[in-house]
Amino acid sequence: MLRLEPRPEPSRRMLALTPFAAVLLTMLAGGFLFASLGTNPLDAIRVFFWDPLFDSTVASYTRPQLLVKAAPLIIIALGLSFGFRAGIWNIGAEGQFIMGAIVGGSAGLAVYPAEGVWVFPMMVAAGALGGLLWAMIPAILKIRFNANEILVSLMLVYVAFNILAGLVTGRLRDPDGFNWPESRNFQAYPSAHNAELFAGTGVHVGVIVMAVLVLLCHLVLRNHIFGFHVRLAGQSRQAARFAGINPHVLTALCLGLSGAFAGLAGLFELAGPAGKLSTNFPLGYGFTAIIVAFLGRLHPIGILLAGLLMALTYIGGELAQFMLNVPAAAVQVFQGMLLFFLLAVDFLVNYRIRVRLRPPEDTGAAPGTETRGDTVNGPGPGKSGEEPA
């Protein structure tokens, strides 16, 4: 019979290996999914994961898209990873993404049609500020009133979306447009346009910022006291308290940071690939970034890889829609499955499977039975004990 035996220490090897196992399992399950939709699973996997990168006819278009799609996912996920490590769950990044775009975009439109090198940096700063302030709402409500940040940040996604819908039919509507509920197109406003820097690569300012942030977050997490505080709070609330970490400050910092990052991503997306504000602007990056953060093991380098993979599923999904008639939502199903499988194989980090021939004689609880697993505090599963037989 099989038995889960707790490891004395989380396995680092498993921590690195399980994401790959999850990807493989997802591909397998995805194959079944596509087969059930009447698509040849091998074709589907090829279109999803191989053609966007290597197919001679489409790759020249899809390869640059990889960075365009990955940049916002990675930037948002980097911000989220700090909070997730510390047990502070900001799941409203989508709302902060939208608010960053609204505030940053409004700043740009306010000075339209002024030209100058200062326009775009100002918009970037405004975008980050917009996301930051939006994320401070759950932070303040959590600190001051103990309101659950998960629910508040999520509710604010719907509020942000309605603000967006209200603005594009109102104050931010393009005065030179044909009454469409859309803002002016930033791609037609040179000083504000987040243009491709090197032709054919998809690299815009946001991609550069993403690369810098990956490095920066890596250094902060490893070497800076803030990174230490975040990691400590995630492992043990009490230890963090004894170390003199103020939980309120930590909440504000983690939420603020993730909000600012999401706002940045929103502004880069708006001024670049999206071009204009409309109700079609939010694409769910804020939610997919949650998967990216977990798949990347809340580690900056891991997030970089996970973000690229997730971007690939977006592009592959579009391609599959076009070439194999696979429904658009298949991508979302795929991404959801990936997170499921990741969580499913996660226990291998903290447990090992032992095969036992004879069932244990005493399955009742011994006195002093203790479970230390406290999932609210961190992304890892419970840390002690064994399966009840």
Partner: protein, 311 residues
């Protein structure tokens, strides 16, 4: 357009009961789950799966009852994934719940793709004999569909179960202190799985109520945060079943008022009025959580904590 006097209170009450029912069903299910010590954030995902399963089954068979049953089954199936992951493989409950929602939204969109714009078979209204003929109150309270009455019955049943039955006591014990419950010989994992499945069934039914009775139509992402509001209502209710009733009707009221104001055209943009339910949810959360001591007294002590029996 009509002026404010055009708001008929009778119609408003009747429609707020309808608007509240999906949230109430999902919330009472989640209450049982949380009472057993499990935090399932996947309510939204289970609801939308229920909505699409119910819709597809009802359209294909022509029977709304089959649709409702399919919705329950769909919600339970999704809940089963959550149960296996969190109870057997001990995954993080917050992350797994989120995964459930993301996966559910995607899967529902895929399943419902070819069903957009179709009308489902109508669900017959159940007029309570005699009572529905009462002048004034009759049409408001006693002339609804069966599921609405069922939802109220479920709230009452859960109250009775948790408060009066031995099994309810065991369930609460599991949520308050899983180690003690385990030491007494109760199967913590099994009890929790059963609770999670009940939560899934109720969320699924609530979702189907949306797509089959309240709207009635299938549109992608039609739950629009109802599952999350249900989670907030459990907090609002301080984990007490009868308060779920109040909470859900309060939200139904806000939703209907907002919709009616939109119809009248009060000079506030539609988009800004649509925010109302979400903002009210936040306000309610703030008010209910502000008193830290009372809030922590009400919440099940083992909420969200993984259980693992050690020998």
């Amino acid at each position: 357009m009509i002026d404010l006097a055009g708001l008929s209170p009778a119609a408003l009450v009747a429609s707020l009961m309808v608007a509240a029912t999906p949230i109430m069903l999902a919330a009472i299910g989640e209450l049982v789950v949380e009472k057993s010590g499990v935090l399932n954030l996947g309510v939204e995902g289970m609801m939308i799966i229920g909505a699409v399963c119910g819709f597809v089954a009802a359209v294909e068979t022509g029977s709304p009852v089959v649709g409702l049953c399919a919705a329950i089954a769909g919600g339970m199936l999704l809940a089963l994934i959550f149960a296996v992951l969190t109870q057997v493989l001990l995954s993080n409950q917050v992350a797994t719940g989120l995964a459930l929602t993301l996966f559910g939204l995607g899967l529902a969109a895929m399943m419902g793709q070819s069903y957009a714009g179709i009308k489902p078979p109508p669900t017959p209204r159940l007029d309570v004999p005699v009572l529905s003929d009462l002048p004034g109150l009759g049409p408001i309270l006693f002339s609804h569909d069966g599921v609405l009455y069922l939802s109220i019955a479920v709230v009452f049943g859960v109250w009775l179960f948790l408060r009066q039955s031995r099994a309810g006591l065991v369930l609460r014990a599991t949520g308050e202190n899983h180690d003690a419950a385990h030491a007494l010989g109760y199967k913590v994992v099994r009890i929790r799985i059963a609770a999670i499945l009940f939560g899934g069934a109720m969320a699924g039914l609530g979702g189907a109520y949306l797509s089959l009775i309240r709207v009635p139509q299938w549109t992608e992402g039609m739950t629009a945060g109802a599952g999350w509001i249900a989670l907030a209502i459990v907090v609002f209710a301080a984990w007490k079943p009868w308060r779920i009733l109040i909470g859900a009707y309060l939200f139904g009221g806000v939703t209907m008022l907002q919709l009616n104001l939109q119809a009248i055209g009060v000079g506030i943009g539609v988009a800004y009025l649509s925010m109302a339910p979400y903002i009210v949810t936040i306000l309610v959360l703030v008010i209910m959580s502000a008193d830290r001591r009372r809030a922590s007294l009400n919440a099940p002590a083992c909420l969200g904590r993984a259980f693992h029996a050690s020998t």
